[in-house]
Each structure stands twice: as C-alpha cells, then as structure tokens.
C-alpha cells in the first residue's frame, strides 16, 4: 500500500506529462490545465496520505523507502532507482506539489491566450516529476538526475516563447550557467564517493560520523565543489546571473521554478548532506560569506529596478542568500524553515505580479502602473500579505524565519556579529525595495495609459492567491522560536525543528538571555520598519526625492541600475575571450595542424619529382647508371 502511494507521487505528474505531450497540438487550455493540475494535486494527496501517519509516529520511524530497480551496478558502485520519504523530503514534497498545484491552477487562466497550452502544461508536469526525483532520491546520483532534469525543464520553460530570440537566449544562458554548477556537483559527488565509498545518503551520513580527521582536507574540497553546484542552481555569486534573465519565461513559471522550488534545491542538497557539511566549518564559513554578499548585492540591485519581475527576481536571489547564511552558520532546519515560508510568500508575490502583468496586457514596467489597489482588490490584499511577510512584520511567516536566521548568525558558534549586522542591513534593504514595489504598483498615482483597463482576474487567478496569502501569514507557526512561544504565545512546540532534529539538526547556539534576544529582534524589526517608512515617503509622499537623490549619487545609482555591470563583465572576461580563442583554434586547426599533413604529402611529392630527372627515358643515361653501379660493386670487391 505504501509502495503504491509512493509510486503515485511520481506517476501522477509523469502521466500528466505524457498525456499533455501526446496532445501537444491541442489548443484547449482548460482541459490541458485540468489534466496537469489534477496530476499535481494527485501527487500532493498521495504524499499527504503517506505523511499523515508520520505525525503519530516516533521520529526514528518516520521513514519510507521504495526501490524500483538498479540503474547502475558495479563491484562497489550501486545506484538504484531508490527513493526515500522522510521528514525532510516529505516537507519538500508537500511544498513542491502543494505550491505546484496552485501555480498549475493559476496558469489555466494566465495561459488562456497562448496557442500551445498543452505543451506548456506538459513541461510543467515534467518539471514537477524531475523536482520530485531530486528531493526524494535516496542517493546523490539520482538527485543529480533530477537536478539536471529540472534544469532542462527550466531551459524549456524560460524559452517557452522561443520565437523571441532574447527569450531563447535567456533559457540557454540559464542552462549553461547551471551546467557550471553541475560540473561542480559531479566533482563533489566523485569526492564523496571516493571518501565514503557510497552514494547513498543514509550510508554517507553514517560513515560521516566516523571519518578520521585526515580525510577532512579531501572532504572540504568535495564539499566546496558541491557548494558550487548548489550555488549554480540556487543562484549565488558568482553564478547568479542566469536567474534575473530567467524572468523571460511565463510568470507562473517564475513563481514555481525560479522562486518556490527549483532554486531552493541547492539549499536542500546541503541540508540533506548536513552531516557531512558540519564536519567542514571552513567551507561553512565560505558558504555564509557567499550568502551574505549575494544577499546584499542582489538587494542593492533590486532597489533601482523598474521591471516588477526583475525586482522579485533579485529579491529571490537575496532571500536565497539568507538561506545560505543559515546553512553557513549550521542552522540547517532554520534554512529549511525560511525555504518553506519563502516558497509561500514569494510564489504569492510572483503570482500577484503575474496577475498585474496579465491585466496590464503584458506591461512589466512599474513606472507605468500605480494605483492598482482599487482596480484589483484581491490581488492587492493578497500581495499585501506577501509584502508584510517578506519585510518581516512581527508574527507573519517571514518574520519568524528571518528572525531565526538573524539569531543564529549572531549566536551560532559559526556566526559573527558582523554577519548579523549585514543581515540586518539586508533586512532593511528588503523592506525598502518591497515597499517601493508596493508604492509604485498598487499605491500612489495611476501612471498607465488610459486605454489600459486593469481588472481583477478570474477565480483561477484569485483562489491560488488567497490560499497562498493565508499560508504566508500563518506558515510561521510551524516553527515558532522558543523565545516567542514561551513569552507570548503560550507554549507552542517547534514542530519543524523537532521533525528535522534527526536529519538536519541545528547547531547548538550560544546561550543568550531573553533580554539580549529581544534586543536583537527589536533591532532588526526597527531597521526594517524604518526603511519601509523611508520608501513610503520616497515613493508616495515626496515623489521628487528619488530623482534628486539619484542625481546626487549618480555613480551609485547607475551602478545599481546597471546591476554592477556583472553580465557585461562576464561577457568581457569569459565569453568574448573564449570566442576569440575558439576562433583562433579553429583557424589553427585548418591552417596549421591540417597543413602539416599537406606539408608531409607535398614533401613526398617533391622528393619524387626531385629524383625524376634520373628517369629521363634516354637509353644512354640508363647504360651510364648501369656501368656506374657495376663500377661501385667491383670497387667494393677490390677494397674488401
């Protein structure tokens, strides 16, 4: 029975993919959409059926394995198609299929004008399938299968409207940049395999407990490579450049793949291997550092962007940075916590943005929006919940999870006050750019053309928004920090931390008094509130201010607006030289290497024609050679 439901988790999306793939030419958006949404829902329900009994079980019993057949089998390398459902993969599965279902439903309305809906939905289902392989795999290589699979789906969906070459390019860029990470993943995988002799997660974590310190050098290197893989998928420096471009895809795709699920798989990978990563604190330091730099960099770019999706994209990069800070300080289940809340509120905001873009006929520039509050109330109020959550309004989901990260960045033995300070600064920037987005889009003056008539979407659009907004408000309750639960809310058990205690335990934080903790919390809430108020003043009350400031600090403003010219830099440093080298090699191949063979054959020909004069056809010459030869032979005889 368990096996059946476990298989169904995969079979639903796979079947959905095949059905829609076979009828790819169909233009019936509702039918295609219902098939795909039904598949996603079916997968969600199957997972739920398996996971509900977990609640009453002992923590150590919360694990279900399933095994199909061996994929690769050698003397000591054995890679089965085997999957494991435990608390960690279970939570991920619920998020993926749950948020996935809502986004599928949203897509039914969003893609109604498109001429290839069946193809779109088949890709979406195939993405779910691969994502589920990624999180449910019981070994690293199978995770890699899903890892590449989701990359492929992302490629297909970013470039879904491929007749626009820019969109096709964005898809290609995403895949190639991800491939750099994938190469790192593979090297990390080889490293772990050579150390532990296994690719199975359970076996690795058992073996990791018994490693001798001599292997830590090799282990560090392997973990560093795995982190490169994670940084590729989860858009961290230096591999984050693909994610903003990925916004070329349809907006629901951005919500599903580039906000809620795929981009978090890097975090998932490290959390899954937390028993290994915790052994190499030097790598964790690198992870936290990369996380915090990425977080600040992306947030500082988001402040000046005009495209609503670009703001959200950089915001996603920035929030992923927070999650990496969390894993970097050893707070693994906290990283998962932020992953979950972020999946809800960021998916909500992307769908909200999609709803806005849809009703504005494809307009994405926030300078041409404004005052949408009264035209699209449901979108507005749900988006408002997302906004409150992400800027860390107390008791919204984002508040709990972000605050836990800030706490650990300070109080973890791997943390540092500076890390905390920068994270608080990041929280301030987040509050600023999100409030700016709200002001430019929903509040303030109407700046759109009079012929654009913004309107609320139909129920396919609004229902997912409402559900996600409820989740964005309350999802924090699954892991209420002990400080708040004790002092304010009565004693709520920290569900998430208890659930993950065996798989991804948090590092033991340094003891702090409640007063100190409250001080930390207050500081971050204060900074965020201040920055939000500032943004409100800038973009609603004194709308001339941003212009004045941007003129005054033109250099900084332009730097942020142009995204620090990182893309251009990569182009100059990597892409163009590579093209130049390739061209030169191509010429060399023709003009030099190939030419050697010609030189050789010419030499042989020349040699032949050089001796040609001997064969001149004159009988007398031949007689002369004959006598000459005879003379030489006779001469030899005499000498010897």
């Amino acid at each position: 029975m368990q096996n059946l439901f476990f298989s169904l988790i995969f079979i639903f999306p796979l079947a959905g993919f095949f059905i829609n793939a076979i009828r790819w030419n169909s233009k019936k958006v509702q039918l295609s959409g219902f098939i795909a949404s039904g598949a996603a829902l079916g997968s969600f329900v199957s997972a739920l059926v398996l996971l509900l009994p977990f609640l009453s079980q002992d923590a150590s019993e919360r694990i279900i394995n399933i095994y199909f057949f061996n994929w690769l089998e050698f003397e000591f390398l054995s890679v089965p198609f085997g999957f494991v459902l435990d608390s960690l993969s279970g939570i991920m599965t619920l998020v993926i299929t749950g948020v996935g279902t809502l986004i599928h439903i949203f897509s039914i309305s969003y893609m109604s004008g498109d001429d290839r809906p069946a193809k779109y939905f088949s890709y979406l289902n195939f993405f779910l399938f691969n994502m589920l392989i990624l999180v449910l795999a019981d070994n690293l290589l199978l995770t890699f299968v899903g890892w590449e699979g989701v990359g492929l789906c992302s490629y297909l969906l970013i470039g879904f409207w491929f007749s626009d070459i820019q969109k096709a390019k964005a898809g290609m860029k995403a895949f190639i940049v991800n491939r750099i990470g994938d190469a790192g993943f593979l090297l990390g995988l080889f490293g772990l395999f050579s150390i532990f002799g296994s690719l199975n997660y359970a076996e690795i974590s058992v073996a990791a407990a018994n490693t001798s310190p001599e292997t830590w050098g090799v282990l560090s290197l392997a973990c560093l490579f795995l982190f490169i893989g994670a940084a590729g998928k989860s858009a961290q420096i230096p591999l984050f450049v693909w994610l903003p471009d990925a916004m070329a895809g349809p907006t629901p795709v951005s919500a599903l793949i580039h906000a809620a699920t795929m981009v978090t798989s890097g975090i998932y990978l490290i959390v899954r291997l937390s028993s290994v990563f915790i052994l190499v604190p030097n790598i964790l330091h690198i992870i936290a550092t990369v996380g915090v730099i990425t977080m600040l960099l992306a947030a500082s770019i988001a402040i000046t962007q005009k495209d609503i999706k670009k703001v959200l994209a950089y915001s996603t990069v920035s929030q992923l940075g927070y999650m990496f800070i969390a894993v970097g300080v050893g707070a693994f289940s906290v990283a998962m916590f932020h992953l979950i809340t972020h999946a809800f509120f960021k998916a909500l905001m992307f769908l909200g943005a999609g709803s806005v873009i849809h009703s504005m006929r494809g307009e994405q520039n926030m300078d041409k929006m404004g005052g949408l509050k009264k035209y699209m109330p449901i979108t507005y109020y749900t988006f408002l919940m997302g906004w409150l959550a992400i800027i860390g309004t107390p008791f919204f989901s984002g508040f709990f999870s972000k605050d836990e990260i800030l706490f650990y960045s300070f109080a973890s033995p791997l943390g540092h006050p500076l890390l905390w300070l920068l994270s608080v600064l990041g929280a301030g920037l987040t509050a600023f750019y999100m409030t700016r987005l709200m002001s430019l889009t929903f509040w303030g003056k109407e700046k759109f053309d009079s012929n654009v008539k913004p309107h609320e979407g139909d129920k396919f659009i609004t229902i997912p928004l409402i559900i996600l907004s409820i989740l964005s408000i309350f999802a924090g309750l699954i892991s209420v920090p002990h400080l708040i639960s004790k002092t304010m809310l009565g004693h709520i058990p920290n569900f998430l931390q208890n659930t993950l205690a065996l798989i991804a335990p948090n590092i033991q934080a340094i003891y702090m008094s409640p007063a100190q903790e409250f001080l930390l919390m207050f500081a971050s809430v204060f900074v965020a509130g201040l920055m939000a108020a500032l943004a409100f003043v800038f973009y609603i009350k004194k709308t001339s201010l941003p212009k004045i400031l941007s003129n005054k600090f033109k250099v900084i403003y332009n730097l942020s607006l142009s995204k620090y010219k990182i893309d251009e830099g990569y182009n100059k440093i990597i892409v163009l030289p590579l093209q130049y080298i390739s061209k030169s090699l191509s010429d060399m191949d023709k003009l030099f290497i190939d030419d050697i063979t010609f030189k050789l054959s010419n030499f042989v020909q020349k040699l032949g024609s050089g001796f040609c004069f001997l064969q001149n056809g004159k009988l007398q010459s031949y007689a002369f050679y004959f006598v000459l030869g005879l003379g030489v032979i006779v001469g030899c005889f005499f000498i010897t």
Binding site: N70, F74, L77, F144, G149, S163, A183, L186, L585, K590
Partner: protein, 503 residues
C-alpha cells in the same frame, strides 16, 4: 550460428540481386539482405552466453600455415555490441534509402557492413587487417561518388590519411609476427598467441620493443578514432559525405579505432599502455577541450557535429586509459551511445539539408515553429549528446569521469570542462537553428520541412534506444560486463579461452 555466415551474408545478397531482372526486385533483395543480416545478429545476441569472457562461436581454419595466418573468428563481450550496432545502423540506413538510392550505393553499404562485421569478429591480426582495409574502399566510393561539392578532395584525404595509419599497423603486425617466431618458435598472427607474448619493456625509454609497438598500433588506431592532432580528415570527410555515409562514419568506422584499443593495444602491450597512458589521457583531455571550443564557432552544422564527435572520442580515450572498471565500461558504453547519437544527429542534418540545400547555421532560424516533430527529436538527440541523465550519453560520460577521478582527480577537474562546453555548443546550435524568427529561407515556401512518416519511424526507434540505454544500462552492459572485467583484472597477462561451440 555461424559467424562466417554473418560476415558474408551481405555478399550473398549482392550476388543474388544479380539474378533478379527488375530494378525494384533488386532493391527488394538488397533490402531484405540488410533485414536478414540484422536478424542474424539478433539471433547471435540471443545465443550469446553472457556468463563467460571466452570467445564464442569460434571458427578456425588454417590459411597460410607457413606464416601462422589463420581464418579465425570468434565473438566475445567486446565485440558483440559492435556487431549489433553495425547491423542495426545498416538496417536503418536501408529503411531510409532502399528506394531512393542507386543499386551501387546500396551495395557499397552492404560491403561496408561485411567489412565491419569481419573486423569485429576476426581474432587473427592479418584477417583483421584485411577487413579493416576493405572497409575503407566502400567508404572511399561513398564519399567520392555521392558526396558534396568537394567530394574528391575529401575522399582522397580520407583514403590517404587512414591508409597511412594502416601502414603503421601492417608494420606492427609484421614485427609482432617476427616476435612470435622468436619467442614461440613459429610465425603467428593469431591474437591468442600474441596475448601470450612477453614483449620486452624498459620503462623510461621510447626505444624498447614494447613501447615502439605500442605507439605503432596506437597511431594506427588513433587516426581512425580520430584523436587530436590526427583528426583533420574527419571534419572534411563528414561534411562532404552523403548523409548515410556520415552515419556510418561516425556511428561505426570511428569505433574500429576504439575497438582496436580494446582488442589489441591494452591486452598486448600492458606495461607500455600503463606507462604511456598519461600521454593518451592528456591527449584525450586536450582533445575534449580543443574540439569543443572549435565546435562552438563552427558555421556549418555538420562540421559542428563532426567536432563534437572528436570531443566525445576524447572521453573514450580517457576511459580506456584510466585502468579501472569504471573507465573501461564507460569507454565501451560511450562508444555505443555515441554510435547511436551521432548517427541520429547526422541523419537529421542530412534530412534538413536535402530540403533546404544549406548547412550554414546562419541560414536557419525558427525551425521549431515550422517543423515541430523535427525539433523535438533533434532536441532529444541534443540532450543525449550533451549527456543529460537518463539519456544514453550520460552513463558513459559519468562512468568515464568517475574512472578518471579514481585515477587522479586532476584529470576529472579538466575533463569535466567538457560537460560545460558540450552543453554550450549544442545549445548554441539549437538556439540558432530552431529558435528565433523564422528564417527567410523557408518562410514563404510551401516546402514541408517536418518529418515524413518513415523518417519519424527511424528517428523514434533511435530515440527509444537512446532512452533505454540511459534508463536501463544494465541490460546493455550485461553483454560486455564479464569481458570488460576480465580485461580490467587480467590485462597484465591477458588471455582468452575458447568456448565449445554452442549448438
């Protein structure tokens, strides 16, 4: 099951076709020859015993006894896959072109099939050499008679270049036969005798017998593979060859070289292989990066795929010389997988070229909008070429990389660049040809660029093979496993026993 029948059946088919009066009848005879040949090889596969590394279905006849040359055939795990690949690809080619092409064209392919079968099944060096050379002749005519604009140039280059390699091999064979005279007391070109030889090897110098012979044979096979820097004949030959010719070239002819390493170089010159292996690994890594970079800037689709073949063969060489079971198996699997993928890609390029008369990438664009089926299938083979998991390309590449990592992580660090570059050139190609605005080349024509039913069948069969090789590699590895393990464990004193012929 007679291996001789398997080898010479194509000749029988050609001969029979002489006695059929109508042109159509002749075509049917030739086509059925390819079909029956395929069935024969399938029958061999079913009769094949996967539990032994010994040679099976052995046939041995004295031939030139004063020189110890014999007509000696046998099949084992190293050759069975290639035998099947040969008859399979030939069959697909016949399905596509049996009604379209001239009879001489079809016959040339049957003779090519004969030569390839013979090469893969010979256990005698001279016999192998003869079949190896015969395979060149039909290819020479296929390129030279039915090729593109510069067909004469290309066919000449192909012939001279590979003949030069063969000359090396002949030299090596004669030297080896002399050695058998010295050590065993009589001339022999029997591979089983060669395996027994203890060829003097001195580390540190090139001029010890074993090292010299190792290089002589390696160069002969390296030209065929082709290995950087002996590869320049390949892009020309591929570009000028007719579609079916490119398929055979990429799918099978290149594998003759790899097979040579498996059958000759590694087991006969074990010390030298191990000692000089780093050199070949270096060349392999260099070849991957070099060919991938060049592929990225090609303007001709066929040339791009030709260079990608060179890059893939770089992997194979790394696998061969990593001296562990992962590398060897990976090399073997990559060889089979590449045979399927590259011939599928060449086939598709040929199809579109036939309709548009251009192979220049810049002439294309937006093909996905006008030829959806074509685009989907091309994408599948693109994925296989860039080794996406669950396609045939991944298994081999993964095993080779893990094998290289076991030998030395540094190799893997560099070889893994090919993973990134491979995705780059294939996706750049895909973007330029299939995405973007619909090219003016076919915007306003009524030309149907998409696949017709027969083409769909052929490509779907290939796609099914690609996925089954990716998802169920064990089924394919089953046949070669024991032989590869045998080679891996015993290559220092390799030997093959003979199995009593099965009934």
């Amino acid at each position: 099951m007679s291996l001789s029948l398997l080898i010479f059946f194509p000749l029988i088919g050609i001969f029979l076709s002489f006695f059929v009066p109508s042109l159509y009848g002749k075509r049917i005879v030739l086509f059925s020859t390819a079909v029956i040949e395929f069935l024969l090889s399938v029958k061999l596969l079913f009769a094949f015993n996967t539990q032994t590394a010994a040679l099976q279905f052995v046939e041995k006849q004295e031939w030139i006894s004063s020189f110890g040359i014999s007509y000696f055939l046998g099949v084992d795990g190293l050759s069975i896959g290639l035998v099947l690949l040969t008859s399979f690809l030939t069959l697909l080619i016949f399905i596509y072109s049996w009604k379209k092409r001239e009879l001489s064209f079809l016959s040339a392919f049957l003779i090519l099939e004969l030569a390839l079968m013979g090469s893969f099944l010979s256990i005698d060096a001279i016999l192998f050499y003869i079949f190896f050379e015969i395979s060149l002749l039909p290819m020479y005519f296929i390129v030279g008679l039915w090729g593109g604009e510069r067909k004469i140039y290309a066919s000449y280059k192909l012939l001279i270049y590979t003949l030069a390699g063969s000359l090396f091999m002949l030299l090596g064979i004669i030297y080896m036969m002399n050695l058998t005279k010295l050590e065993l007391g009589n001339f022999s070109s029997n591979l089983l005798d060669w395996y027994k030889l203890d060829i003097p090897f001195i580390a540190g110098t090139l001029f010890s017998t074993q090292s010299l012979l190792f290089f002589i044979f390696s160069i002969a096979f390296a030209i065929k593979i082709p290995l950087f820097p002996l590869h320049t004949w390949l892009p020309d030959a591929h570009v000028e060859a007719p579609t079916e010719g490119s398929m055979m070239l990429a799918g099978l002819m290149l594998k003759l070289g790899v097979y040579g390493f498996f059958r000759f170089v590694l087991p006969i010159f074990p010390e030298a292989s191990q000692y000089w292996g780093w050199l070949f690994i270096f060349i392999g890594v260099l070849g991957i990066i070099y060919a991938s970079l060049i592929a990225m800037v090609q303007t001709d689709i066929k040339k791009l795929i030709a260079y990608s073949s060179i890059a893939h063969m770089g992997y194979v060489i790394i696998g061969l010389f990593s001296f562990n079971i992962f590398g060897l198996t990976g090399a073997y699997y990559q060889m089979l997988a590449h045979g399927i993928t590259s011939s599928a890609l060449f086939f598709m390029v040929g199809l579109i070229y036939y309709k548009t008369k251009t192979r220049q990438i810049k002439d294309y664009g937006g093909l996905a909008s006008v030829a959806p089926y074509f685009s989907i299938l091309f994408f599948i083979f693109t994925c296989a070429s860039m080794a996406v998991p669950l396609t045939s390309g991944f298994v081999g590449e993964f095993l080779i990389l893990i094998g290289a990592f076991k030998l030395s992580p540094i190799i893997a660090y560099f070889a893994v660049l090919g993973v990134i570059l491979g995705a780059s050139y294939m996706l750049i190609l895909y973007k330029k040809v299939f995405f973007g605005k619909i090219s003016t080349l076919y915007k306003d024509t009524s030309l149907n660029l998409d696949l017709c039913l027969k083409e769909k069948y052929i490509l779907v069969i290939l796609a099914v093979v690609v996925f089954s090789m990716g998802i169920f590699p064990q089924i394919f590895l089953k046949y070669s496993n024991i032989s590869l393990q045998h080679l891996n464990k015993n290559y220092q004193n390799y030997n093959l026993s003979l199995e009593q012929e099965n009934k």
